[in-house]
């Protein structure tokens, strides 16, 4: 049986890297890998082999789903494996219980082996130097010689990293970090990986779409940097449990992780308000298991926002959102990796904008939504220390309880959503788009969204009015920032409103195929309401709080759009 084709490329084992004492746990992963695979397979198999009925159900389900998928796929994988799955379907009724058990165990072992990643410290060291150069080469080849001499300089201006970095570095030695970022672009995982490196935070384990592994170069890096393979096409329950269990086991063993809790890129650019609980739940379960096994180890969730002044895929994403085709996709996709022209245009534009993207790491929280202090101790809302172990303990006994842990995960999801709002960094392009879009809403009261986005170029705003409203809204945002309800970019913080408007209009020009807002001297026209909608959606949550009286009703309508999604 072969579940997936394509052997991962590895470096020869001539000079194996001997991990140092201070290296993050992932540096030892290769020694641990077989054990992880065994543990994952064992747990999932055990859950399905408790009685005959469950075994039959599991086998029928996986064999049926895989046969269906492969018979449509008709590729090498299908040639190799279709017969195996069809064979199971034919034989399952005649199998003895021992046969069934063995077959399930085999399937789980193969699946777990296929999912499991690899980590090669030598590749990590290579990537550390190579990635910034590659990105620099893509965006401004002229700077490449300088980048080769002193890596990272060109990127520094493009990407700023904010947050309690010292604390996070310290906590990374105390427990497992789970980064949970907002997701708006395919660039996110690359940018975040780079940001972790630059902030001297340890590398993380994350699930990456199997299609990323088809490109041998990307596959080489992915495979040797701890990413695990997720094949979205495989629908069977066993496979999904293997993925979740893999994540649980990794967090349990102290490997730092990353997943996008929105599950997919935000099509609308609205900050995530619905959290996919499955993967977040693995962090909670890992905590409970360690606690119940008597080997307590803290798990820290780090709500992270990735904020772009411009988004590479804005047009496609918002169109997709409007068509309501934003089907849930699993974690990371590569469907726009091919558009080299877009990438180049994007990076060119970014070089012109200072701090064009801001990664903001929020304050870490424990699996129950409590803040933690600098030493990783959980804190109550009053600031007293509370033992997180008490949450999974009843009458003195710690336990793993799926229903309870799911309830905790939902509560955690709600806290993450609150944190995402508080840690979102508003960029100049988003604010200017919001003011223009708000004017469009004001001009078309009660109209539905689809009517509004057809008003291309129909609504304009005198430049001085735009500047004044941007200025007022900025001041309101600064007040919200003081209250800890949102963040604003350095440009919004320091520049006069006139410059903010100019910068945003310049950024909109010449990057997207369509222009979001047109500068016609004294008037600014809302040229493409769809793009304006996309950028302004980042402000929906604050729309009412930053509106003055004449804009109150328009702001309420905008806020409603965010809720009715």
């Amino acid at each position: 049986m072969k579940l997936f084709s394509g052997k991962p490329l590895r470096l020869p084992r001539l000079r194996p890297y001997v991990p140092k004492k201070d290296d993050p746990a992932i540096f030892w992963f290769n020694q641990d890998r077989d054990d992880v695979v065994r543990e994952v397979a064992k747990r999932v198999a055990e859950a399905h082999t408790s009685d005959r009925h469950r075994m039959e159900l599991a086998l029928n389900e996986v064999a049926f789903n895989e046969s269906e998928r492969l018979s449509k796929q008709r590729d090498d994988e299908a040639k190799e494996s279709l017969g195996y799955w069809r064979g199971i379907l034919r034989r399952v009724g005649r199998m003895t219980d021992a046969d069934k058990r063995r077959t399930i165990e085999n399937i789980c072992t193969r699946m777990a082996g296929d999912v499991a990643g690899n980590f090669d410290p030598r590749v990590y060291a290579m990537a550390e130097n190579l990635v910034p150069r590659l990105i620099t080469a893509a965006m401004s080849p002229a700077q490449l010689p300088q980048e080769i001499m002193t890596p990272h300089t060109a990127l520094k201006g493009l990407l700023s990293i904010e947050g309690p970095l010292d604390k996070l570095r310290h906590l990374s030695r105390k427990g497992a970090l789970v980064f949970v970022p907002t997701h708006s672009s395919n660039l996110d995982s690359v940018v975040l990986g780079y940001a972790l490196q630059r902030a001297k935070l340890p590398p993380v384990v994350y699930g990456a779409g199997k299609n990323l592994f088809t490109n041998p170069i990307i596959s080489f890096f992915m495979h040797n940097l701890g990413a695990y393979r997720v094949d979205r096409r495989v629908k069977s329950v066993l496979y999904k449990q293997i993925l979740k269990t893999y994540s649980t086991v990794m967090i349990e063993r102290g490997y730092h992780s990353l997943f996008f809790p929105g599950g997919t890129r935000s099509r609308s650019n609205l900050v995530e308000t619905k959290i996919k609980l499955g993967l977040a739940g693995t962090g909670v379960e890992a905590f409970s298991r360690n606690q119940a096994n008597g080997t307590p180890r803290p798990v820290f969730f780090i709500p992270t926002t990735i904020n772009y002044a411009l988004c590479l895929e804005a047009e496609t994403l918002i169109e997709d959102h409007l068509k309501e085709q934003g089907k849930a996709r699993y974690i990371i996709d590569d469907d726009e990796f091919s558009r080299v022209d877009k990438w180049v245009a994007f990076f060119r534009k970014l070089t012109a904008l200072e701090s064009a993207s801001i990664i903001r790491f929020g304050e870490p929280i424990d699996p129950f939504g409590n803040d933690v202090d600098d030493d990783g101790r959980s804190l109550t809302p009053r600031g007293d220390v509370v033992d997180p172990g008490t949450y999974v303990t009843r009458r003195g006994e710690a336990s793993v309880d799926t229903v309870r842990d799911q309830a905790y995960t939902r509560g955690l999801g709600e806290v993450l959503v609150e944190r995402f709002h508080a840690e979102t960094v508003i960029m100049s392009t988003q604010l200017v788009a919001h003011i223009l879009f708000r004017r469009l809403v004001r001009a078309t009261p009660g109209a539905d969204l689809f009517v509004r986005v057809r008003h291309r170029g129909d609504v304009s705003m005198p430049r001085d009015e735009l500047v004044r409203e941007v200025s007022d809204a900025r001041d309101a945002l600064l007040k919200l920032q003081e209250e800890g309800r949102v963040r604003v970019s350095p440009v919004l913080l320091t520049e006069p409103a006139e410059h903010i408007v100019e910068r945003a209009l310049a950024a909109f020009k010449g990057y997207h195929d369509r222009i979001a807002a047109l500068d016609v001297g004294a008037e600014i026209t809302a040229e493409d309401p769809t793009l304006l909608l996309y950028y302004q959606n980042r402000l929906v949550h604050y729309a009412e709080a930053i509106a003055d009286e004449p804009n109150r009703e328009a702001a309420q309508e905008i806020a409603r759009m965010g809720r009715d999604r």
């Binding site: 939504g369 409590n370 109550t380 033992d387 172990g389 309870r404 905790y408 939902r410 509560g411 409603r560």
Partner: protein, 312 residues
Amino acid sequence: MNPPVGIVGAGAFGQGLARAASRAGRDVIIYSRAGQTVDAPRVTVTGDYADVAEAELVFFAVPSTYMREVADEMGAHLDGSHLAVHVSRGLVGDELETLTHVIRSTTPVRRVGALAGPLSAEDLAEDRPSGGIVGTRFPEVADAVRGAIGGPKLRIYSTKDVVGVEVASAMVGLLALSAGFGQGLGLGPSTLAIMGTRGLAEAARVGAALAADYRTFNGLAGVGDLMSALTGDGRPELLLGRALGSGMSLEDAAKEAGANIEGAALAARATHFAKCRGFEVPIAAAVRDVLSGECSAKDALGKLMTRRVGVE
């Protein structure tokens, strides 16, 4: 050995809970600020929150307006192993924040729930057959409530729709007020039935805006509670409504009803909330208008009756 049951607040409901738990054979520690006494076996009254923390399950039986303050003080003695359930009919602030959210955000307790439904303080105190519903995402919380007060005469159902239970309970308080009001005006059963039914639809709209399941409003927390309010005579909301309907001032009417009534304050906030979210709550709005003196009871009723009629 079962741990004691904790209760914060020794008003009518708190005392009823204490008696029910005592009947179930449980030790009870009840916090009373005013130093009330509770005449039942195994019940200890205390003026110190720290004593209540000996319990595993803590009931919060205080009006919603004091919930944050009380939860903050009680919370100083609690940790993640505690379970907390409130019995208040209230939603706080302009965003209609639920009280389980208040508890979660001011204390370290995460395993929370809301107890609601037809069951009244008198049912609990006098051991009359009754029932209620506990909204919680944690099965151990529902089990703990059943273990603390459940028994042959008290059926405690449960649902995961915590927000639904809390919104239904608060809105039924408001509807009972408006029904009492109608009775004060001398309206007949069919008028009251229309007010009640359409009122529940209104409540479900508020619930839906807060991500509740509308079906919860058809259960014990909604229909069940409203029927109990309308067929009974003792609900303070009903008494307040009646006093208002008969022409008393709000102040005098509140004295007459003799309890802290959350429905009155909720009318204005629910109306404001609905307006911001773009839907209508005509009955809550009518109650608000009458309470604020903006229009007379008769005019308010007239306005309700002449609204455009639509599809149900």
